[in-house]
Symmetry: C2
Subunit: 430 residues, 2 copies
Amino acid sequence: MVRGRIIRLSVRDVRFPTSLGGHGSDAMHTDPDYSAAYVVIETDAGDGLAGCGITFTLGKGTEVVVCAVNALAHHVLHKDLRDIVGDFRGFYRQLTSDGQLRWIGPKKGVVHLATAAVLNAVWDLWAKQEGKPLWKLLVDMDPRTLLSCIDFRYITDVLTEEDAYEEQMLTHGYPAYTTSCAWLGYSDDTLKQRCAEALKDGWTRFKVKVGADLQDDMRRCRLIRDMIGPEKTLMMDANQRWDVPEAVEWMSKLAEFKPLWIEEPTSPDDILGHATISKALVPLGIGVATGEQCHNRVIFKQLLQANALQFLQIDSCRLGSVNENLSVILMAKKFGIPVCPHAGGVGLCELVQHLIIFDYIAVSASLKNRMCEYVDHLHEHFKYPVTIKQASYMPPKAAGYSTEMKEESVKKHQYPEGEVWKRLHAAHEN
Amino acid sequence: MVRGRIIRLSVRDVRFPTSLGGHGSDAMHTDPDYSAAYVVIETDAGDGLAGCGITFTLGKGTEVVVCAVNALAHHVLHKDLRDIVGDFRGFYRQLTSDGQLRWIGPKKGVVHLATAAVLNAVWDLWAKQEGKPLWKLLVDMDPRTLLSCIDFRYITDVLTEEDAYEEQMLTHGYPAYTTSCAWLGYSDDTLKQRCAEALKDGWTRFKVKVGADLQDDMRRCRLIRDMIGPEKTLMMDANQRWDVPEAVEWMSKLAEFKPLWIEEPTSPDDILGHATISKALVPLGIGVATGEQCHNRVIFKQLLQANALQFLQIDSCRLGSVNENLSVILMAKKFGIPVCPHAGGVGLCELVQHLIIFDYIAVSASLKNRMCEYVDHLHEHFKYPVTIKQASYMPPKAAGYSTEMKEESVKKHQYPEGEVWKRLHAAHEN
């Protein structure tokens, strides 16, 4: 079914001026403009199908990721799609181990985000050609083929191809939690109003941003806990604001609000720091969650080895696409740690729902302590936006990886020439 | 003495076609073109001084780093140099924690390399204005000012500003070792010839690249050990080629050649992996060395906490310039681990000699197990190239950070429009 030579790769800098409304604000990212480097690949197959891939960014710097995508393009152009997916591990390694380009990573930061965008487009195209949503392509794939997409280099000390296994298949909606109620930049009134609306819509799991000011955190956490009651689930997210001892001290003060987890308490690179925090918070009944800025499978491997987290948060656009996320999902299974993906951003919900549904059906077969983040904005720019029912992600049905944006949205938000940005820049100058 | 507002920042993509001669080749980087993103900042002080900063790259991707420097430029332009160095910690954090830009790092990969290039230029300008080589500026600085350049965020669990200390001052040349004899791409004849020359020049410490093929490694190691004799020091470098169990197995086979250390045995992100390897190799008398691709102070902190290395290899162009290297040098001192910097590349020897001389005079006060890498090429492109005598780095005397390149060299090697590249591309097309 796979067909065609890749004859065109385009990449665009698409930005949404979300900072104007305080959406997405937290203790470290105070004014994000949710953005994406948006890749489209086309083949000579004549079937009219294009593969769309994104990686998520926060505004400034998107142009750097665009530049990196262009630097990777020669690895993709003129390749036959059959050759790519036929030796996907080899192709993955070629992309991430280019003898010259790897120096500016390796496997992290800008080049790895660009790799994700390119590979997301390849996966989208593959799934579209097979006429299946990506999660179904993965679920239907025979285990050997699935494992042949994974680069096991640097993780064979905890997981080898021989650890391969298959699990029985099930189908359900996947539980979601909402981060839309309590961004750090929201006023108490906005927070209350959003919380009331979410309760009405059936949400039972809520996340609040913390970390900038302890008194302010206590007030906001009390407000939310009072509104949602003692039974519903509350998570907290510090977005890397603290040092290790500070994280323990701060969370001891917030323990009275019974958070299920504290997310990103310190540097995303600090495996041993997370382990220290984790150990200190266990007696308080608080777990540690992290992963949205873990840059590759080697960091996840160590977080698992060091008992540094109780909830593992993969990101569909920071790791090297489906290939690398598969390796992390399998390692999490081996260590018995639930995968609760990071989402929100631009398109992160659309993409990651495929991975989490695959995880449930084919790997974990459990919903215990498992849920996926949900944020309620920017979905209208996607051709196949997520469907949420009763606070659950419903399995997407359209073929592909749900990565495709509406052309009109892309044009309007392209930076700096799209009309939205032209207007904002003009307003700024007046 | 510090003066002037920064009114101009330029950045250029400079590449040297080193892959043509196999220089710099190793098990993971088979065809590097040693390159640099080269930054120059100028002020309105009217003193004719410019700050030059570089970061080292391997060819492709340099344009991505250039793009990232441009994305950072607005943090530097129109700033008064007094304000920058007067609150250097604040400025460092502003550059590395931009609310939008940090997402594409954070503090790693392309954006962090770009940060290094920009800050290297600031340090060069500061030292030039003070009329001192950088190491002397650092050595003369009062400890409080020195510490005020360091961002302690994320490392306060092992080092705080209160740990500050001062050591007595001494002066000597700094021992060097050579990597110029045994690149992986060299034939046995080239290797023998280079080794004989180095012995004649007084070198007593040698490094050999390994990791691609065990039989080949054994032949090459035997050849070198036979040439240098049993008393001289031999180090090995695998450039991240192995998985953890593979590294232990492979090095057990190479132990007979008595290497002092094995460098980069596995992924630079794998702290626990390095600890495992380190523990396994101690009985064989082999230490673990790593650091040239450790992307920030948080990774170094953990390598020290986990007893994962016996030799710490800072890099002047990957960490966030002098500021972040200072924090690592101080942590290494606290853990009693010798700093043996990575050098070579483009300008890495020129820059890092300042840091290592500072380390010796003001921090470690010891040469035990300490030495700095040296590679014998591309120095001719620098205005103040290193001076090596009796296999030792002699303290540089010119004011600044030795970062300044000859304008003629830059012009000739600018990519893609410099004459060297125009000629190569024309040759390639014919």
